[in-house]
Symmetry: C3
Subunit: 355 residues, 3 copies
């Protein structure tokens, strides 16, 4: 077992399926954990996810259209409601009880549409990663994106859990000085559901964006906190306070604050969708600030995609070859261990359910 091993999927977990506005135009086709899905709002507005395959002749349902009672197959007109039940078969009165398609538990919370890919009986909403900042757009206006990437989703998690790459991948954007990243003080810990690290750069000159954002006059204490929640979410909080404000004890004070949600949803073993949102917690009254934030973050993440897709290509061609661990891998190794623990827990659940 190695830190680039392609792990099995965690099935009993909530994944980000889409942003709510991706359903604004009706039907959305998306593959998650290798399962083709069709997403739409049912007549009551509830986000729903069905397998994207009609039970009649296997036509993809996303070629169909929304009707009063659900989604209508675009081939022969069968209709399915949000629960997957077939509610109309043209040309016959009798709808056999087994007529229907698989549905998936879906929860819309914090302006995120989550989907449960495992056993519906185990879908526990309390396991959804809370992200309350999305609900307070006055204080946390945000921008967001959906990126389709040709890599195993854990390579994106690895990327977020090792910031030493900033100086090499992001030389044209946020890179900065290599030694600043490598020598930053790191606190790494396992959490109940993942791993967390915080990097502190104390008494440093704030970068221009920070000054512009928070009006700093002198030096600041800066931090970057990343928390991985198994299997596929990373919650980031970066910020800075004036030196002397006691940032280490209490970061919840006025200053520079940036919160980024990273959710990496597996499509196949070697492809994924990267959902990110970035919340501007410093110039909330200036709409331009959020636009500028998007303009800074999006090109940076595109830089990551290039190298990580290359990494995946190399891993594909020789997946079992050993790699060299280095000191900087510490946090990503903790994340990988947390994932493996969850996989073991899940295989225990599955074994139990099969008894």
């Amino acid at each position: 077992m190695d830190d680039t091993t392609i792990e099995p999927f965690v099935r009993n977990a909530w994944y980000v399926a889409c942003w709510p506005d991706e359903l604004d135009n009706g039907i959305l086709a998306r593959t998650i954990l290798k399962e083709p899905l069709v997403l739409f709002r049912d007549p009551d507005g509830k986000a729903s996810a069905l397998e994207d395959r009609c039970c009649h002749r296997a036509a993809p349902l996303h070629y169909g259209k929304l009707v009063e009672t659900g989604i209508q197959c675009g081939y022969h007109g069968l209709v399915f409601d949000g629960s997957g039940k077939c509610v109309d078969i043209p040309g016959q009165q009798n709808i056999p009880p087994m007529a229907g398609v698989r549905s998936y538990p879906v929860v819309e919370r914090n302006r995120i549409i989550w989907i449960w890919m495992g056993d519906p009986a185990l879908a526990d909403e309390s396991k959804i990663v809370p992200y309350p900042w999305h609900d307070d757009t006055a204080k946390w206006p945000y921008c967001k994106e959906v990126m389709h990437i040709k890599c195993n989703y854990m390579l994106m998690i690895d990327n977020l859990m090792d910031l030493t790459h900033l100086a090499y991948v992001h030389t044209k954007t946020i890179g900065g000085n290599p030694s600043a990243h490598v020598n930053a003080k790191m606190d790494i810990e396992r959490t109940e559901h993942g791993a967390r690290y915080i990097r502190w750069m104390d008494e440093t000159t704030p970068p221009p964006t920070y000054v512009k954002g928070a009006g700093f006059k002198g030096k600041v204490d800066r931090w970057q906190e990343f928390e991985y929640v198994v299997p596929s979410t990373v919650v980031q909080w970066s910020g800075a306070l004036d030196v002397g404000k006691g940032a280490h004890e209490n970061r919840e004070q006025e200053g520079f604050h940036l919160r980024i949600l990273h959710a990496i949803t597996p499509v196949t073993e070697t492809t994924c969708i990267y959902f990110w949102s970035a919340a501007n917690g410093y110039r909330q009254d200036d709409p331009k600030a959020t636009v500028e934030l998007y303009g800074e973050i999006n090109p940076t993440f595109i830089e990551d995609v290039g190298i990580i897709e290359g990494q995946q290509a190399r891993l594909d061609s020789d997946p079992n070859r050993a790699l060299l661990g280095i000191r900087a891998d510490n946090a990503l190794s903790q994340a990988r261990r947390a994932l493996r623990a969850e996989l073991e827990r899940e295989s225990g659940i599955t074994a139990q359910a099969a008894e």
Copy 2:
């Protein structure tokens, strides 16, 4: 065995290889039943089909050119006549008896070029589906097309054998009212070599094309007849007569008549070529009528291609999963049974030949 099972190919059968004018520019490369072929007219003008692979160094013959004695390989100049016999090897007088490439029986009839893909000794021209209307272009001027589709050929046959899809797939073109299609009276029967159905819409208002075509003043009796001939042809006759003319007893009277030949030639298990011709039997003296007919039919068939290719993609990813039969599948099920009967007959022949 299911109605979407990918069946083996019927080998001992005539398939449409191409339209005659596809040979007007010389050499045509085409794959049928997974066999790469080169088609051309021999020096006498007879359409010929050879395997598209030189016996010398395996170069595709379709890179070559037509010479007086046949087709000349474009690599080292070997020449093959229409029977596949090698008639020239540059640099040597002696042509070994085994020098040659496989040839296929080809028959040009009714302005269609048919090919026999099985044992040449069994090629029986009486089994070619007759299509005499092509020969009477004064009475039946026609338009035609060649479409390359990413689906098993039987999915196209299914499509033609179940017209309930009209209301869902063809909403922008010929769709019309769903219940009209679903409730149309259907007579379905097995025939000696396939299956046939006729749908009657009696005493109905004719659609504008029909009125324009045949000058109807009042209501009509309409029909749509589709006859599937194993393995891959469907002959369609749609039309209408004034109410009171006794259409059910004798359709061969002046009125609106449209004949469509559908021939679906397998390329691989999941790709095919759709040859269709549509003959205008109502405004034969107006060349614009046939052009308009093409303009109506071609976009309609393109609508089918979209959803059927999607259906194939879903079947590919889980080919053995059971489907739900519905009432509207009746005619296509008859067609599938006719195909399977032929496959059983063929495996009997093959077994016999091997004894």
Copy 3:
């Protein structure tokens, strides 16, 4: 075993990796014998080749950049020198002894960069095909190219070892009269490391290029000499002298002389890179002559690519089917035998090394 069999690669051999100027812009990524490589000049200017995969997290090194001490990985900054040794790991002082990537012996000679793909201990520079004409650009100004081709490399060698194809493939360029090629006198011989043939066309009218190049007034004795050196180089010398000068005894006299290096480096079993250079040994003082030479040769070789890629496609679909040998295959059969002898020798070496 057939003359189109896809043979295993000869590993213990020198292959052309690139032209020197391909390294002018820094880093070059190239796959040879299915191994992804990164090529660059080390700080001393020595051409180096490493596997294109960082030992840390498998990122392709060609995404990186050249630094003072070698090549720096573009993901987390590890640095490797030209020997593959890791010389820097950001964030840690200690570099473990096994940190490094595989390097390949590289020799730059005669303006060609050669790489040894086998056991480095066996890399014997005396086995490099000498090509001294590249070093005398006053007497032999040359043009060159790199072509990426979808065929097994031996299909390109076959092509060069059987010139009867000229009349069929190159009808628009250098083709000429089929019988002239087929009937040309051929002397074929096995050599220590390959096979060689020379074709003589005595007392013939020189083609226009020859007349323009060497000022011939009357008939000439022409030759085309091709020498295959195992596994993947063909050295060509074509030319003509005035009749009476005794060309058969001594070709090293003033006249028309053209030397072409053909080096075909395998990428995978079914793809290769074709490096060629063509040296103008007739109008050395006129720079336009070399430009014109490129303009004649490049389109000709592109004609070969088309048909050979088609040939590969046919071989792929039925690799074990027997082919028909003809008289014209003689020289290419000698070349194939030489290759097989080398493969047997190599498997002997390998067996010995494993004892």
